[in-house]
């Protein structure tokens, strides 16, 4: 039955109307399940997750629709609830390069939770995609309202960013070593 409904173009399947008319109870359970998978919400109990669930914005994107463009001010992070998102970057000398393809439960744009600096890449939905958005204003309001929970989230975010920094540093060291071994003069 559900499959049949999915196949027919009902208002709920359309990304615009689907964003307005949505069953709340189904959504809440789905969002909670998705949040549980995300490392940023690790070590959080149900009531804490529910607090974040209230802040989350839901969106449906059609295949090929852009979630955000490189260079736009960052507003918040996104979690993929269903579907695929390609992250690509524009290089002046080359074509647009796809950096990664993200799937269910993965997240992107988390640096925008810290400041409004421009997005470093473009995110485009590869297929019909359900996205959960957590925006910086909502995070700040949570920090004011429930500082302990807000700090817990920020600590997790710092850990993830720190891990990425370590990874990038080691990658850079490897590249530098390769460069030193080769005879390329910059």
């Amino acid at each position: 039955m559900n499959n049949h409904h999915d196949a027919v173009a009902t208002p709920r399947n359309d990304s615009f109307w689907g964003n307005i008319f949505r069953k709340k109870s189904d959504d809440e359970a789905d969002v909670m399940r998705t949040l549980e998978q995300v490392p940023l919400f690790a070590n959080m109990n149900d009531s804490e997750l529910r607090e974040f669930e209230k802040l989350i914005h839901r969106r449906n994107f059609k295949a090929g629709e852009t979630i955000f463009w490189e260079g736009e001010p960052g507003v918040g992070m996104y979690i993929i609830q269903a579907g695929e998102v390609s992250i690509s970057k524009y290089f002046p000398q080359e074509e647009r390069k796809v950096l990664a393809v993200l799937k269910n439960g993965e997240f992107f744009g988390e640096l925008a939770l810290l400041d409004e600096s421009p997005r470093s890449a473009t995110a485009i939905a590869k297929e019909t995609t359900k996205i959960l958005g957590l925006f910086r204003p909502d995070l700040f309001s949570l920090l004011e309202r429930r500082p302990r929970l807000g700090n817990k989230f920020l600590f997790q975010l710092a850990l993830i960013i720190g891990d990425r920094l370590k990874h990038n540093n080691s990658e850079m060291q490897k590249l530098r070593a390769q460069l030193d071994r080769s005879d390329i003069i910059l």
Partner: protein, 377 residues
């Protein structure tokens, strides 16, 4: 720790210098919206202001209540947030803050009642006894005695034709304001309910608006709403604080000069001072003329002008300080045009509200244009 508004201010400043957006996948032409120039924002601001002011007399009753509720909500929101931080449930926090505010205001009204009643009687007496022609000739005699070089036909004509009705309108407006302040209990209840709605359902309403916009405008709408609400709330808080402080200081100054109707005059003058550049002139003239009529003394009128001018300078210095600077900058011509529009469409209330309304319109349009320039949607 930085407040939420400070964080927004810093981040907003950073993105002002955002790099130009790179080309899109399918359409390689880069987006350049900065070429539209500064003419469109100015024109849009004036069109919006004109539209608002044309509608103002028709929906003034609703607008006064909604405006008062929004201003009060902007003031009370930080107090509610403080209570919520102290683990108080939000609806209870709103009830508590509203109740405390109502108690303080009622206490003040009860305490001030004998004084207000006396002032209303004085103003009513002034209104009944003032006959425009007699008043004008009395003023011209006083003014020409003090300033003989003004003895020209033009000045006399100006005094007789324009000053007297202006004073009558001012006194009438002041009286109506004070009577409404004391008597309109239903308005208080309506405003309290509106404040509760804004404080309790403000955030969900914002979320519903964000939900309703198409995907391409999603992020821009979030930022627009957040920044506009934050800046407008801050503007209202600062301006109300300044108006209250200026009212108290002017009331004290007028009391020392033994003027009648000091509260009405002080509130009127303080509200006009919120309009930058020209507010002082607008506030000083009717108050000085009214006081000259009441006290028969040119020196008193001069003292009033001096007090109002000092207050305007103090407010300007306060607003240009690093903490409150950059809230909104209006060009003198924009303020003048807003005043003319306000005066022609809304009379005394139009003059009082023109400056703040123009500033709020400018904030909304500045943020809307920033979003339009920064986002592709």
């Amino acid at each position: 720790m930085k407040s939420r508004q400070d964080v927004f201010k810093v981040t907003a400043r950073r993105t002002q210098s955002a790099t130009p957006l790179p080309p899109v996948l399918s359409s390689p032409a880069p987006l350049d919206r900065k070429s539209s120039g500064e003419f469109v924002p100015g024109l849009a601001m004036w069109l919006a202001l004109a539209g608002l002011l044309i509608l103002l007399p028709r929906i003034s009753f609703a607008l006064i209540h909604i405006g008062a509720a929004l201003a009060l909500a902007a003031w009370l929101a930080p107090l509610v947030a403080l209570c919520v931080r102290r683990k108080m449930p939000r609806p209870f926090a709103i009830f508590f803050v509203l109740g405390a505010t109502a108690a303080v205001l009622t206490g003040m009204l009860v305490w001030l009642y004998p004084f207000l009643a006396k002032e209303i009687a004085t103003l009513a007496g002034l209104l009944e006894t003032s006959e425009p022609q007699k008043l004008a000739s009395k003023l011209s005699v006083l003014l020409l005695k003090a300033l003989p070089w003004l003895q020209t036909k033009g000045v006399l004509h100006q005094l007789e034709e324009e000053f007297a009705p202006m004073i009558a309108a001012f006194v009438e407006a002041a009286l109506a304001f004070e009577v409404a302040l004391l008597a309109n209990l239903i308005s208080y209840v309506v405003i309290a309910l509106l404040v509760f709605y804004v404080l309790h359902w403000g955030e969900p309403t914002k979320r519903k608006i964000v939900c309703a916009v198409p995907n391409r405008c999603w992020e821009g709408t979030v930022l627009f709403l957040e920044k506009t609400v934050a800046r407008c709330s801050r503007y209202v808080r600062v301006q109300t604080f300044l108006a209250l402080a200026a009212s108290l200081m002017l009331a004290l100054a007028f009391h020392l000069m033994h003027l009648p109707g000091i509260l009405a005059m002080a509130v009127y003058a303080a509200l006009t001072l919120l309009t930058p550049y020209w507010g002082g002139f607008v506030g000083a003239i009717p108050v000085a003329v009214a006081s000259m009529n009441a006290t028969n003394s040119f020196n008193t009128a001069f003292g009033i002008v001096l007090a109002i001018a000092t207050m305007q300078v103090l407010i300007n210095v306060f607003l240009s300080s690093s903490r409150f600077g950059g809230i909104v900058r209006l060009h003198p011509w924009e303020v003048l045009l807003a005043l003319l529009l306000g005066a022609s469409l809304g009379g005394v209330w139009g003059i009082l509200l023109a400056g703040p309304l123009a500033a709020l319109c400018k904030i909304v349009l500045q943020e809307a244009l920033w979003v339009r320039r920064s986002f592709r949607g």
